[in-house]
Structure formats: structure tokens, C-alpha cells
Amino acid sequence: MTSSRLQDEIEHSFGDGPAPRPVDAHVAAGRRALRRRRAGVASLVVVAAVGAGWAVTGPQDSGGTSGEVATDPTATPTPTPMTTPVPAGAPWTDEEGPVRYRDGVLEVRPGVVVHERIDDPYADRPSRASTALDVTYRGERQWVIAELVGAGDDDFSVGTADPSNGWASFADWVADQVDANGAGDDGWPVSLEQDQQGRVVATPGTTVLDRTDDPRLGDSFAAPRQPTGAALVVAAEDGKRYFLVWRVLDGGLNVITTPATRKLGGTFEEMLDHARAQYAGGEGLL
């Protein structure tokens, strides 16, 4: 079968299917996503305002039936202690995580501190409910998205991630999960791209202050013959300095972006040393 014939055959092998969604629906969905991305962060006050059945805390880590809304000293400049009545519910089991559903309402395990919340991230899907939370659970900060899928309270999924430089913010992580595209939109400015020849180049407007294509970040970062690099740039998008390390995986560019703070070092060499140590220790820059 020739290529052109195959092209024609595929072209004519199916029609247009049922009516597509209206253009306005796509515009509206895009607007909602943009609002979520911009607003992103819901403060503790919003969490409390939602009312019963949400965030509770107490001295114990299970079985709580009432208490105060968990406070996050970093979430608001002037955290306001608030007491929210919480309905009695079944004790929490060890198998349950930081959240669960009861009667279709999301419950947060007593003792879990809610820092930020984004409502209904999966509004465009047919699930019954969904909520994204930035929490501290058992002493560990976690990003969580809960989605109630089916008719029963047990028919839900929970996805979690450790907060990291992998995404610029909790809101960016949520947006990335919602988009489910894996295209690497991590919320950081896009400072590098591949040109037509597959070379890694700066995006238009990005200023490269320093760069090496031999950062020697070790095997935990990339296999020996995989193309890698590092650069210190000023991003066109926000004019801020970022330290970037990259690797080309299966032909695709994977860039890890870190704000160039003093923690990384004062010079490019110090930043490289920091990155080498992070990858040698297995932690990486994310």
C-alpha cells in the first residue's frame, strides 16, 4: 500500500461522528481553567466558609467528631481562629488517607491541616464531585486531588504528589493534572525549546546568562549518552532568574526549572555543584 493511498484510505475510513461540542462550550471551559489558574489559591477562610464536613482538627488523628478548623500560619497573614461544627461520622481507619467521602461530601481526616483548596477541578468531567487540597498530613506536606466517581462514597480516587519545584505552585499542579496532557506545562516560564534539528535553544526573549551542555549531573539524572545541559537564564515571561537543568528523553525535552535563589549558590558553578549533589543524593531538584 503506497503512502498516498494509505493517506486517502485513512482519510475516508471514518466520518465525523456525532455532532461536536459547540465552540462556546470550549471557550467557557477555557475561561474556567484560566480562572482556576489565576485564582488558584483558596485561603483558609474559604475552606472554613464552606462549612461542616470539611476541615477539622483535634488532638487525635482519628475518630474525631468535632473540633476547630485546622489553621495554617503560612496561608493567611492574619489567620482567624474559627470553629466549625462537624457532624458525627464513622471513625477513620488506618486504611483511609487524608480525605474520604461521606454522603457525597468530602471529609478531611482530623488533624490534617488544609493550606489551600481548589473546588471542582474536574468540573468538565462527569464525576459527582472533585476537590484539590494542599495539606499537611502526618507531618508531610501533600497535594491531593479527590474525585468522587460513582454512586457510592467508596467509589472515589485520590491522587497525591509531594510539593516540589516540578510545578510553580499548587494551582499549576492541579491545572496540570486536570489537563492530563503530560505536555510538561509546569507553570514555570518556558525558557528552552527544541529547534527543528532537535537542538536545545532558548525561547525568544529569554536571556541566557550561562550555559553548559556537559553538566555531569550523574546517572540518576540521565543515562551517559543522553543529551543533558544546564543554564542560568532570565525568563522573558517574568524577567526573573532561573536555574535550569535539562535532559532529552526519547527525543523530547525535559526541563527542570528552579528559581535561582541563594539556596542554590551565588554563581553558576555553585548552582551546578548543588545540582550534582542533589542528584547524587537521589533527591534531585524537584
Binding site: M1, F14, G17, G251
Partner: protein, 162 residues
């Protein structure tokens, strides 16, 4: 840019290219409802990135890339796998056009492993080069050639046997 301007430009793009992009999604997944979900996922992301992409005149390639990658990545994400029975993503029978209206070629295409199918769609339907296909799917050019060869071989075999 203003919201109104963004909306107008985005709507014009969707109106002009939705049919083509939707068919790409359908070719990748073989299910119109799933294709609509894929397209919406891609268009939502496009809307967010619109100010950047409209300048580079790259909106269509960007959207197509999301469609083909999203479909790949859906099965890679552990917590996506936790979901069940939602919207046909658990392998339920493809919906859309009645089976008898779909050609033997399309049926054979859908029987290919996912990556082979996508390579065939990108290379031999959309006419992308080996390099472009490799970048689109984030695989090496050698892998593209391998999938292309095997995919075409299996298509020929399947169609011959029918």
C-alpha cells in the same frame, strides 16, 4: 490581551480547526466521546496558553501534540488507573459510528498497539516527517521507524486476512 480578544480569536480557531483536530483524536482512540474529551482537554490548555501560542502561530501543532500525548499519558498516570467505569476510559466498547459504517482499514488501525497506531496516523495520514513524529510522541526517530514498519505490516496483514 483582553478576554474578549482572546475569546474571539480562540473561538475562530476552534470553529476553523475543530473538525480536523477531532478526527485526529478519534483516529488515536477510536471512540468519538473519548475523542471529544481529548479535544476538550487540549483546547482548554490551548485557551490558557493562547497569548503565547498565537504569537508563534503554532496553535494547531500545539493542540495536536496535546491530543496525541494526552491519550498516551492517560494510561501512564497511576492515579488515572485508579479510576474505573468513567466515561468509557476503561476499555468499554468504542462508541460513535456504527461498526458497519467504519471501514475495515479503520478497524485494523484501531487494533494496532497504541503507539504503532499513533505513528501510522501521524506519519501516514497527517504526513509528518519521521523527526516531527518523534518529537510529537516524545520517542526516538528509530522507534518511529520501527513502529511505522510494524504498524503498516500489521495493517496489510489484517486487511489481507479479512
Amino acid at each position: 490581551m483582553s478576554t474578549s480578544s482572546r475569546d474571539d480569536e480562540f473561538a475562530a480557531f476552534v470553529a476553523a480547526r475543530q473538525r480536523h483536530l477531532r478526527r485526529i483524536a478519534y483516529a488515536c482512540c477510536g471512540d468519538w466521546h473519548r475523542a471529544d474529551d481529548l479535544l476538550q482537554t487540549a483546547l482548554v490548555k490551548l485557551y490558557v496558553a493562547w497569548p503565547r501560542l498565537r504569537r508563534s502561530d503554532n496553535a494547531e501543532a500545539y493542540t495536536r501534540q496535546i491530543i496525541v500525548r494526552a491519550n498516551v499519558d492517560e494510561s501512564r498516570r497511576p492515579w488515572r488507573r485508579e479510576r474505573s467505569g468513567l466515561d468509557g476510559v476503561d476499555g468499554a466498547a468504542p462508541e460513535g459510528m456504527p461498526v458497519e459504517e467504519r471501514s475495515a482499514l479503520f478497524e485494523a488501525l484501531q487494533e494496532l498497539p497504541e503507539m504503532q497506531r499513533k505513528v501510522v496516523v501521524l506519519r501516514h495520514w497527517l504526513g509528518l516527517s519521521v523527526g516531527e513524529t518523534a518529537r510529537e510522541l516524545r520517542i526516538s526517530e528509530g522507534t518511529v521507524k520501527s513502529h511505522s514498519s510494524r504498524g503498516l505490516g500489521r495493517l496489510e496483514q489484517t486487511l489481507t486476512e479479512r
